[in-house]
């Protein structure tokens, strides 16, 4: 979907504000807890579906007016609700009834799996069709790469623009399938675009690389 998350090239968002090298990883304790819940749920295979797509469905105004970890929390809430694991109502009731204080529960085995997920290399290799395009080939990012209302990783700003294949990359699942857990491994490419093709002749002079799966691309 062409939601507000697809920010590339938008103007009017103001300056970038760097808080400096001492910026902590988490700005509030709850942010760390949210990160920890996400990783723990993942280690328990309790958060299937598309986390990113759940964020993208937040709604534009809510997205822009909330922080990164609020996005994460919204996505966790959405996925758990949709899977019937924890309903939004249950969470609201808990807050209303003043039962929003977590009990302590220890599970060293889960803690170990969370740590392993964070630190161990993954051996996962996706098998599927061979790469159809070759390095140096001109391709166009399709106008309708997206399914119009679903999840995509083809941002609006590259669509209908011609670039050059720069690298063939290992296969990845087609993002469009992830919300329904439909895993279709497809070839991935690093594609090089020139800024003038992306933004017109008046734009700054630079090049841009972006990783796009084969179904997003067509021959020129």
């Amino acid at each position: 979907m062409d939601g507000i998350h697809d920010l590339g090239g938008m103007q009017g968002f103001g300056p970038v504000e760097d808080q400096g090298a001492d910026e902590p990883p988490f700005h509030h304790p709850w942010e760390g807890r949210v990160h920890g819940m996400m990783i723990s749920l993942g280690a328990n295979r309790a958060l299937p579906g598309s986390f990113r797509y759940a964020i993208e469905r937040m709604g534009a105004v809510q997205y822009l007016t909330t922080s990164y970890y609020e996005h994460w929390m919204a996505a966790i809430e959405t996925l758990l609700d949709e899977q019937g694991v924890v309903s939004r109502e249950a969470l609201a009731r808990r807050i209303e009834q003043g039962r929003a204080e977590p009990e302590q529960r220890l599970d060293p085995e889960l803690a170990q799996r969370a740590k392993t997920a964070l630190t161990a290399p993954s051996k996962r290799v996706w098998r599927g069709p061979d790469h159809r395009f070759t390095v140096g080939q001109k391709v166009r990012a399709k106008k309708d790469a997206t399914t119009h209302s679903g999840h995509t990783r083809c941002p609006r700003y590259v669509r209908d623009v011609v670039g050059v294949i720069e690298r063939l990359c290992p296969l990845e699942p087609l993002p469009e399938g992830l919300p329904t857990r439909d895993i279709q491994p497809v070839p991935l490419y690093t594609v090089c675009f020139h800024s003038h093709d992306l933004w017109g002749e008046g734009a700054e002079d630079f090049t841009l690389r972006i990783d796009l799966v084969e179904p997003y691309l067509e021959e020129v």
């Binding site: 090239g9 990883p25 509030h28 760390g32 990783i39 966790i76 924890v86 734009a203």
Partner: protein
């Protein structure tokens, strides 16, 4: 961890005091979510603590800096890092989530690299930790792919017109790490001293080193 006070104590990061009277809605929602998931046995206090501890103390830009410094002093390691950054990182026992397909891109006399994720905030956790707020912010994600030179200038980095600015939008599962140019006059420094020069911003591409 059954009371707010204990909770605060265990996870205090020095920026905010969480207590019943000061809870913002986001904090309250996070507490309710944890309480619910704990009750259902889907998460555990120690698993969450482990993750928080990991990002607060065990991972961060120091990892990336070690890779960069090693590449500066060992040409063969530099070659391996540029060929397969994840494999090279494993040589230094650096690996993990959001780092299985890392690609190192090198700044040179003619190329300056800049990394962004316009669609969300993808970032190579094993070498840089969690991203700073500015990297996740709408202004950065919007501007990096449209006016990177102007943006870099605001970061104090004026890239000459004859140097190619090369922006990497990490839209898939590849994660990018910038290898800054080794500063002049650092021939006498040890690898550790060199690593101390390398900054998070340098490895994203918004600082020279």
């Amino acid at each position: 961890m059954s009371t707010t006070a204990e909770h605060d104590h265990a996870h205090e990061d020095g920026t905010t005091h969480v207590g019943a009277r000061t809870k913002a809605p986001a904090e309250l929602r996070a507490l309710a979510l944890e309480a619910e998931l704990i009750e259902r046995g889907l998460v555990s206090t120690d698993a969450i603590d482990t993750v928080v501890e990991f990002f607060q103390n065990e991972v961060g830009p120091r990892n990336g800096a070690r890779l960069v410094a090693r590449a500066w002093v060992e040409p063969e390691f530099r070659g391996r890092l540029l060929a397969d950054a994840s494999a090279a990182a494993r040589e230094l026992d650096i690996s993990g989530m959001e780092g299985d397909h890392m690609i190192a891109v090198e700044n040179t006399d003619t190329v300056h690299n800049l990394v962004v994720c316009t669609l969300c905030s993808c970032y190579p956790w094993p070498v840089l930790g969690v991203p700073p707020v500015w990297y996740k912010s709408a202004p950065y994600r919007a501007r990096a792919v449209r006016e990177p030179r102007g943006l870099l200038a605001e970061f104090g980095l004026d890239v000459p017109a004859d140097v190619e600015v090369r922006v990497w939008d990490s839209s898939a599962e590849l994660r990018y790490l910038v290898v800054p140019r080794r500063p002049a006059g650092t021939d006498q420094l040890s690898e550790d001293e060199l690593a101390a020069l390398v900054t998070r911003n340098g490895m994203i591409g918004v600082a020279p080193v």
